[in-house]
């Protein structure tokens, strides 16, 4: 039995390697492969996607990412350091970041890029800037991403019949601890009996 499992495991691992390689090559060879990918996406789109067709690489007007002051660009510190892709608990730096977002299943370099420290990366390896981080979040939170694009999840301001302003996911959700934090309420209304 155990050997059987091992064999299956090996087959699976081999398959995973093949899939990863093909995904990487698709990314490396841009034009034709991307076209194919887009077709596949169009074929698999949900009814609401059809209803709201979206041009490829649509840009959303978002504010600059809310970095902790003085922390960006990350390469300022990291360019002297040799990247260590080994999964570990950080002991010397960034100890203020306590991951409360699928912790245990994830660590820094699943989202932050190992070799270009000023970028994030998607699961397919594509590097993206912090100003496009919604694409990273949208990989897991596809339903929220879909709602966000049409302005239903999250706050969208500007003109209801014109130019709109979006917010990045991280403007409201700390990516390391995403639950929205409670707020102090504004004062309650005056009771009618107290109005003079």
């Amino acid at each position: 039995m155990k050997r059987e499992y091992l064999r299956y495991g090996r087959v699976l691992a081999a398959a995973a390697v093949v899939v990863c390689l093909s995904a990487w090559s698709a990314f490396a060879a841009p034009a034709p492969a991307l076209g194919k990918e887009k077709d596949a996406r169009a074929a698999a789109s949900s009814p609401s996607d059809k209803q709201f067709p979206e041009p490829a690489n649509r840009q959303f007007p978002v504010p600059p990412p809310p970095f902790t002051p003085g922390i960006f660009p990350c390469s300022d510190c990291h360019k002297e350091m040799k990247p260590n892709p080994k999964r570990r608990e950080l002991k010397d730096e960034h100890t203020n970041i306590v991951l409360n977002h699928a912790q245990g299943e994830r660590w820094c370099l699943d989202c932050h890029d190992t070799y270009d420290r000023d970028k994030l990366h998607l699961v397919n390896g594509q590097r993206i800037g912090f100003e496009e981080s919604y694409r990273l979040c949208g990989q897991c939170h596809g339903d929220k991403y879909r709602d966000w694009k049409v302005g239903v999840h999250g706050k969208r301001t500007g003109m209801w019949n014109g130019e709109k302003q979006y917010l990045l996911c991280v403007n409201c959700h700390n990516p390391h601890d995403p639950r929205f934090k409670p707020l102090a309420p504004m004062p309650p209304p005056v009771r009618p009996g107290d109005i003079r």
């Binding site: 209803q51 706050k155 969208r156 209801w160 019949n161 014109g162 707020l183 504004m186 004062p187 309650p188």
Partner: protein, 308 residues
């Protein structure tokens, strides 16, 4: 008895009738503006219902109001009367799964729409409801004041004018001082309102508010971008209500309403129900939507929904 004898005197009876006539005449005259009152007082006294004003009359009315308000609030006040645009029906969405009851919208609305600060008038009322009991209005609390919201086990439902398709408030107005515009916004002509408050009794949502006293609006806090049917300063003794920020949304391009702009959790949505690409249509077609007091058949254009 001496008094009885006096009253029987025919001369006295005549004089009483005369006196009553005189009193009526004097009281009537007192209700009219004084002879030396400024012309604007006479003009506002004889002003017609907003919907009967000719374009020239309307121009004059707006100019008069702008002058009056600019003097009173010591800043350049604009009073517009931007008409509805064909092909637009405004709809509003409120995500009950997101609202945390922080009341930012209440005060943003007060600031934008020139409500009276003292005595206090709020167009938005945020209800705190129990998650176990659902939308049970008997169990709603609007005076909650914890250190932090949301409170465990509760959810929040802001209530404001639902901009009904069949508005009961309009039906009961004895002078037609309130009506539904073609873009779905129910408005009030404050110059025509007689303050009978029938509409407040008719509204199932408690969305109409009465100016019992002269509105207390500090000039520094007055928003000078106004609409005749919306946020212009109100006199004492008239009813007012949410107009979906008519002074903003009637423009092309028009800003989102003040409550949408302020909401820190993005629970408030606004759009054109006739535009298939608007967020409102997406919500109605894809989300679970709840209509407050749907059984009354008022057909609100205000849609509570659950995005998650």
């Amino acid at each position: 008895m001496p008094t009885q004898g006096k009253c029987d005197d025919p001369a006295f009876r005549m004089s009483r009738r005369k006196m009553m006539k005189g009193v009526a005449a004097v009281l009537g005259a007192m209700a009219l503006p004084a002879k030396d009152a400024p012309a604007s007082v006479w003009e506002s006294f004889f002003q017609k219902n907003f919907r009967e004003l000719s374009p020239e009359d309307l121009k004059g009315v707006l100019a008069r109001l702008e002058k009056e308000y600019s003097e009173k609030y010591k800043k350049a006040v604009k009073v517009r009367a931007t008409p509805p645009v064909e092909g637009i029906l405004f709809g509003y969405g409120l995500d009950l799964s997101r609202c945390i009851g922080c009341r930012r919208c209440v005060y943003a609305c007060v600031g934008e729409n020139n409500q009276s600060r003292d005595p206090q008038i709020h167009w938005i009322r945020v209800l705190q409801l129990n998650k176990e009991r659902g939308v049970d209005l008997e169990d709603a609390e609007q005076y909650y004041n914890p250190a932090k919201v949301p409170e465990k086990g509760h959810f929040y439902m802001p209530v404001q004018c639902q901009q009904c398709e069949y508005p009961p408030c309009v039906k009961v107005c004895p002078v037609q001082a309130t009506w539904k515009e073609r873009d779905g916004i129910t408005v009030v002509d404050y110059n025509w309102c007689i303050g009978c408050r029938y509409c407040m009794a008719a509204c199932p949502y408690g969305a109409r508010h009465f100016n019992w006293k002269k509105p207390g609006l500090p000039p520094a806090e007055m928003n000078p971008e106004t609409h005749y049917l919306g946020n212009r300063p109100r006199p004492v003794g008239v009813v007012e209500k949410c107009t979906f920020c008519i002074q903003r949304v009637r423009n092309t391009p028009g800003r989102y309403t003040a409550c949408v702009e302020i909401c820190p959790v993005g629970a408030r949505k606004f759009g054109n129900l006739l535009d298939p690409e608007s967020e409102m249509r997406y919500i109605i077609e894809n989300k679970r939507v709840f209509i407050l007091k749907e059984d009354l058949n008022t057909r609100p254009k205000f849609y509570y929904f659950y995005a998650t």
